[in-house]
Symmetry: C2
């Protein structure tokens, strides 16, 4: 059971879209996947068609220690794909956990408890857990990085998106230095690539020269079907599996599984 | 001196692009403008060509009470436009101010101190102060809303961007109920509108039916020149004043000044 934090404090770079569609593509090739929606807006939950009234328990309850992963997860319309929904309450986590000496380990402890259930034969394992992070380096994102085996960084092919990279990498180093020594960078995924626009190419080549082989070969193109799909409560792969966005996420899932095999 | 917080916790909706280009357009019609960059990535500072080494003091110093606005502001390449730069240290504000009973009033107090200087003839007033907020409803954004006369909400014409609106409005109500009774919503600006795509129209009409006259007539189109300009350290209006993005921000500045006159 590998835990991957999908994180980047720059807003609107495709974290949620990657969590939903990479998760769906992995589930479509038979892997059992859990998405943990750690964003107060609950975009991943909406994009997977989870009605706001069906979110009795959420990642907030898990982070504050009031519910386990198995109590909070619900199934989605996609076979093999479960989700722990997000909740507006997450905006209050920073304040609520401030005095708690274990504030950075809450998600790690919840994952460890689930792994113990699996070892005891009380539950079936997920092959991968994807954590959709909010656009900040706050306690929620630190929790995700502390619980994770690796960080997947969606990077929009825009100039301003390059600015926050060094801060993100320093944060990963900080977490690796204290909270989670085994944390590594799974990879960088270029998103919203528009081949008609020079800027996309410039950003892509700059990222490849900086991150080298860590950058996935698969590049996610800008594709309006990806942004339409959530309005139907479906991942793009169910909404329109032939569009360029869906095909790219299917390729990304395959590339990710190859990397996992080589590990 | 009116203070306007440019806020929306959804990431990547055009908060920084609006702060830079609306600020530049207002300065170009002769208004004296101050931008306060409250985002840890310092995108507004970069987009206005402020070199990272020239950011000796920042909005962080203002928020923790170690520097005044006039000590932290610097001029930009745009006449009539000054900026208080952003800084990575802002990521630590939440923790640093947690125990401070005045934690939500830091920016308000700095603005009040500046106003006192103006009354005493020690400084010239800004006609407007634009605060570029980070993509969260944390202490930094609450500070901006507490110091502000009104909130300007950039809203991307995308389905997922609608999700966070109710939480944003509740936060404005909360701030109005306790910290800043005079806070109102200046308006909603539709951004990244793409007329080739139905979704943009659907989102735009949904927003207009929800917010009515609060929605600016001016709609900002998706225009690649707006995303290229920051890589040259220039606002779009200096980089390419004839492009559709620049023209839209010039119209928005005029519409905003009309609204201010009618107030
Ligand atoms: N490849 C793409 N092509 C076109 N639109 C996209 C693509 N990826 C994401 N989008 C759209 O862009 C917007 C931002 O994407 P998304 O919400 O996934 O980013 P995020 O990083 O999760 O944002 P936040 O920082 O707010 O959590 C959404 O409206 C989404 O539908
Ligand atoms: N109208 C537009 N047309 C095309 N690109 C745009 C437009 N407005 C903004 N952009 C680009 O979209 C990206 C997101 O915009 P911006 O950074 O201003 O949003 P933001 O809300 O400030 O993001 P964050 O939540 O990270 O602070 C940037 O790369 C910017 O250059
Ligand atoms: Mg998201
Ligand atoms: Mg910004």
């Amino acid at each position: 059971m590998r835990v991957v934090a999908i994180a980047n404090q720059k807003g609107g770079v495709g974290k949620t879209t990657t969590a939903i569609n990479l998760g769906t593509a992995l589930a479509a090739i038979g892997r059992k996947i859990l998405i943990i929606d750690c964003d107060a807006q609950g975009n991943a939950s909406t994009g997977l068609g989870v009605d706001p009234t069906a979110r009795a328990r959420s990642s907030y309850d898990v982070l504050v220690g009031e519910a386990s992963l198995e109590q909070s997860r619900i199934s989605t319309a996609v076979p093999n794909l479960d989700i722990v929904p997000g909740s507006e309450d997450l905006a209050g986590v920073e304040t609520l956990l401030h005095e708690d000496p274990r504030k950075n380990f809450k998600l790690k402890e919840a994952v460890a408890a689930y792994r113990a259930r699996v070892s005891a034969g009380e539950d079936t394992p997920y092959e991968m857990v994807l954590v959709d992070c909010p656009p900040s380096l706050s306690t929620v994102t630190i929790n995700a990085m502390t619980a994770a085996d690796s960080v997947l960084v969606p990077l929009q092919c825009e100039f301003l998106a390059l600015e926050g990279l060094s801060q993100l990498l320093r944060t990963v180093d900080l977490v690796r230095g204290g909270l989670n020594p085994d944390l590594d960078i799974q990879g960088v995924v270029l998103t919203m690539y528009d081949r008609r626009n020079n800027l996309s190419d410039q950003v892509a080549s700059e990222v490849r020269s900086f991150f080298g082989a860590k950058v996935f070969q698969t590049v996610i193109p800008r594709n309006v079907r990806l942004s339409e799909a959530p309005s139907f409560g479906k991942p793009a792969i169910l909404y329109d599996h032939k569009c360029s966005g869906s095909e790219a996420y299917i390729r990304l899932a395959q590339e990710l599984m190859e990397r996992e095999r080589e590990r």
